[in-house]
Symmetry: C2
Subunit: 438 residues, 2 copies
């Protein structure tokens, strides 16, 4: 049974976040116990190598490789190992033993969330995961509790600090992606293998978690349409800037109605243009921000540091204190609600605005021809800008056209782009960027 | 005893927020009960005049003037009357009867918070108040729960939409306060009597609530240093713009050490300059934002619509759903923690940066004289800018000096300003603005 005077906390993982959580439990124990009404007792830290160097000086006797034994002797298990296995096995074991679980494992939640929540509900245990999305920024709890009486319409998230840092620097300095990425790696802001960040995998996992929560529906990460920002060029960013926009890698979750009138959700990650007047454009460096549109609350934004050992430990500790308080005053707390069970619609069903950049032959009738292709697919043009005409050494005069559309169906825009690529007067399609947050 | 199948909700007040909460409970009852696990049953709305016109069409039979009877027949009482009495009496009656209370009443909390929290704790009832600060923006719950494992260092809040709207328009249009205020009143964004907003009373109440929560200390509204924005001129705003700043009415709560080395808190409201690169500068119109600096989490910002019937109802419903869920699964939830019990330091102890604008005689030795006054009081000058010299018809040549200081103690700066006003070469002190968020 739970003792009301002290809660035994087991840590799985001694990495950057785990070490900071351990430090806080050891150094701030008195303050925390005053807030909780009971002591949070760190009973052990399970790691692969008890002798490995740690970012924080911690008592060696706390470290162990015997995960199973540690779990069985804990009231709360904090999983900060990352990765899917063996984290999943350990979390299920912890829940089955009746322990509550606090995790920051976005990969695990994005792929096995439903299984874990079901396991928790079965035994009446709590599963908290504020640290999984947005680092230090409270976003899970606001969505789960504060907005629980509202209806979420749309979420636009900058949820990956590495790519926001890169895009922000490309915007302020005008540099090429490869150069800024190399610099970011040198500064420790990007991994040696940056695939998870640059190709949008990290953002897609977080998008799946946010969408599941916001729409009371299971959204597995496989259902998330994912495009990374590896193809974003300095030219695209400069062009966006000329029209008063920045380019951000966005995680977008929204309610939609499909062509048959059924309610569904769209969950996607891609680089998109955002107006400089939008609050998301003011998110610089490696910061994150989640912009939420709710029916009653209107537009809200949650902003802060999206990552970092110390920062993320704040989210873990918040979950721990919440858990502990409930143990003190009694009662198991919250279960997940996935009752809405909405279908996840594919990208073709998405409606948004687009900025299409074409290189075209400079001859009479070109604009009419181009406009005709858009009209043919029902895509309404809002702005059309032609920039300076250049003439090649062979005498071919070309111009660059930037077309901004009104809201259009993705499938219609894709068909438009295909026809443009094949059009006689089009030399090439230089860029297609979605424009979000309007 | 609480029935686990339905929770009886009583509304006190049928104004803009109350009407929206009632509408949501009636129209979205099914959705809400799926999220909660039990039905939220609106058992009545207590008002002064059952026949008064309402912003929403609601069944007449729900309205009553018999507050006491309504309270006794409820599991949760939602107090949206505003004002201190009779709201305080009704809330205490509700808590004494064992009902939980959800309120949006900042005036009541800022003046009688401790009494109400003690009453709630005594009977094991819950008192939630997300709607009291920041309208729809989740800020109370993040401070109370998500950051409960962290230590708050400072809060900078734009918590009054009316004054932010006015200052924002003055910044973008260059207009005078009186004109923009009159326009805001015409648009319903400012009251006929704008004192509560313009003179900072509303912001001061919210500052007291935020500080109490952030520092686990009772901060009564009387302890809040309050300056309104009535004295902000178009000239000050233009001058701020020239140095890359905007002027915002800020609610500031921070931990300080006083001159004797004791820990304390400073809570104050005043118009201040904020760099345009600061996230708070991107808060436009009538929006609110609360910028939180925490030891582990670093800088966070919560942004959204600070007011409005529909928007604020979102915060009330979030509290209701949270409350109801706990009733369903058992357990009374959270108590306030005010164990830190820190002293509230007066404004003289505050350290911040200042922008001082002087009109001075244009003669040799003036700069040295001015600099000397600052040095005398230990206030370090960071920037000094002299603008164009003008000569009056009488032949007196004067110049405008804008002095930016490094961080300085308020008491030292006040003494400096007093000496400057009396100084032979100073024609007048045109402006003293604090510079925050650096």
């Amino acid at each position: 049974m739970i003792s009301y005077r002290s809660l035994r906390v087991a840590l799985l993982g001694g990495g950057s976040v785990g070490a900071q959580v351990a430090r806080a439990l050891l150094e701030d124990g008195d303050e925390l116990s005053q807030r909780v009404g009971a002591r949070l007792e760190l009973v052990g830290i399970a790691v692969r190598d008890v002798d490995a160097p740690r970012s924080v000086d911690l008592p060696r006797e706390l470290f162990t490789t015997d995960v199973d034994r540690l779990i069985l002797g804990a009231d709360v298990v904090v999983e900060l190992m990352g990765g899917i296995e063996p984290a999943r096995t350990h979390v299920l074991k912890a829940l089955a033993s009746g322990a509550d679980v606090v995790t920051g494992n976005k990969a695990l939640l994005a792929t096995h969330g439903p299984e874990l929540f079901a396991a928790a509900e079965q035994v009446g245990a709590q599963l908290y995961y504020e640290a999984a999305v947005g680092g230090a920024i409270p976003i899970i709890r606001p969505l789960r509790e504060s907005l629980a009486g509202d209806r979420i319409v749309r979420i636009l998230g900058i949820v990956n600090g590495t790519t926001n840092y890169i895009l922000d620097r490309m915007d302020t300095e005008g540099g090429a992606l490869e150069d800024v990425l190399a610099d970011a790696q040198r500064l420790g802001l990007a991994e040696a293998d940056p695939t998870a960040d640059v190709d949008g995998y990290d953002a897609a996992q977080k998008a799946a978690i946010l969408a599941s929560l916001a729409f009371h529906t299971d959204v597995p990460v496989e259902a998330v349409h994912r495009e990374g920002m590896r193809t974003v060029t300095a030219a695209q960013i400069a062009s966006a800037a000329r029209s008063g926009h920045v380019v951000k890698l966005l995680a977008i979750c929204e309610r939609l109605t499909d062509d048959d009138g059924r309610d569904g959700v769209s969950v996607r990650v891609y680089p998109a243009m955002v107006s400089r007047t939008h609050p998301l454009a003011a998110v610089h460096g490696a910061n994150n921000a989640v912009f939420v549109e709710a029916e009653a609350a209107g537009s809200l934004m949650f902003y802060g540091a999206g990552a970092g050992g110390v920062e993320t430990s704040s989210a873990v500790l918040g979950d721990l204190v919440s858990l502990a308080r409930r143990h003190v005053v009694g009662g198991p707390g919250l279960a997940e609600s996935k009752h809405a069970d909405l279908p996840v619609l594919d990208i073709g069903q998405v409606t948004t605005r687009y900025a299409v950049t074409l290189e075209v032959k400079d001859e009479p009738g070109v604009l009419a021809g181009i406009a005709g292709v858009f009209a043919q697919h029902g895509v309404s043009v809002e702005t059309l800008q032609q920039s300076v005409v250049t003439t090649s050494s062979a005498g071919l005069a070309t111009a660059v056209l930037v077309i901004g559309t009104h809201a259009a169906r993705e499938s219609a825009l894709a068909a438009t782009v295909a026809d443009l690529e094949a059009h006689r007067v089009v030399v090439g399609v230089a860029s297609v960027l979605r424009v979000e947050g309007a």
